[in-house]
Symmetry: C2
Subunit: 231 residues, 2 copies
């Protein structure tokens, strides 16, 4: 399924920033919640570190490789839809012209108002295919070369985010004692991350900071309570 969002004018963040946001949003949340959850059930920081690092490895690969394969699928999907559209324009130009009119009919435009545009597109088959991909199917050409870099950025951001809550468990032997430092470090990181995410994506920074902190906090509290219940 297409996972590539449309580019639009007021979106100030570049693709790399976007990948950092995707990876770090989960990286700061899930390993933190897991570590907090285990601290509710297990004494030794060593087990929390082992589980935390295993989670970071699993999560960064699942997100990075998953993102890579999704980007490749998007590109394959685009190419196959494009070949189909090219064939249709050759084989049944009348139906495809009718489809252009249908697109504009949604906006209250009548056939005579659209005809010059339809005729102009019919004289330029390559542009016509581009037009149908974008305006009929809502698909933008995915940049195939970005898949690998995007996967590495997402995975790297997940690792960077996931290490923040684990550092106290490296330094303090008792998981219960490490938990307080882990919560403090991660809440600061979540608020800072949410703030910058809001600034880069055009949302209100303070609202965004509160939302990321809330997500991490609720996830950690649920994991903590569940882990205490089952042990």
């Amino acid at each position: 399924m297409p996972a590539t969002p449309h580019v639009e004018r007021h979106f100030t963040a570049g693709a790399a920033v976007r990948d950092v946001v995707i990876g770090m949003a989960d990286g700061l949340t899930v390993p933190f919640a897991l570590a907090a959850g285990l601290s509710g059930a297990i004494e030794s920081s060593g087990v929390v570190v082992t589980a935390g690092l295993a989670e970071i490895a699993a999560g960064s690969i699942a997100m990075g490789l998953g993102g890579y394969l999704a980007a490749r699928s998007d590109a394959d999907h685009y190419d196959s839809e494009r070949r189909r559209e090219e064939r249709e324009i050759l084989d049944k130009p009348e139906e495809e012209s009718e489809e252009i009119e249908e697109i504009f009919r949604e906006y209250g435009l009548a056939e005579p108002e659209v005809r010059p545009l339809v005729e102009a597109l019919r004289r330029r088959p390559a542009a016509w295919v581009d037009f149908m991909m974008r305006f009929e199917l809502g698909l933008e050409k995915p940049r195939r070369s970005r898949a690998r870099r995007s996967a590495l950025t997402i995975g790297g951001a997940y690792i960077a985010g996931g290490l923040v809550p684990l550092v106290p468990y490296f330094l303090v032997a008792s998981a219960r004692d490490a938990l307080g430092w882990s919560i403090a470090a991660t809440l600061v990181a979540l608020v800072a991350f949410g703030y910058f995410k809001g600034r880069y994506t055009g949302a209100r920074p303070l609202k965004s900071a509160l939302q990321t902190a809330l997500t991490g906090g609720v996830a950690a509290a649920a994991a903590f309570l569940l882990a205490r219940l089952v042990t």
Copy 2:
């Protein structure tokens, strides 16, 4: 940032199926890899079950609540861009008309070919705003009411997927012995899930089945090796 992909004609899956796919793709991968990783370092299935359930709680809430907040942000973003576009059409209609021509210039269309369309839109301000939202900004109206149901579907699918690899650890006391059953159960589930995902999203089912199994396998192997290294 807009996370809502464009609807397109050949996308056969409904929104609910899409949410199940999003949740289950991670739910079948990350708890499985975490359980496998811990089995490389820890003897007792009890610890794996505690960590696995804590991860499922954390991951399902992070994905569900994160998705809910992202959907709400998309809706806010759409509304604010729409108000901005409505103002611009009233305040500087000439510039906005010029922007319509710019959109079509990318497709090799000249001003006379586009003029009837521009003039028709100028006579219908409401349709003009709709047109600019879709074709200039590439934004579709997000369905605000779907955010809650979508969050619950994604979180539920994550939980369902995450329980598959954990069941053997409930039944077998030794983590090493449970690992083999967990791998077998999860690989079957990953292949079946990948196959149906491929069918519903229009990708080749067998390729999709191999890709999901590969992602889960690589993540689990990395988590296993890392957990052995640190203990």
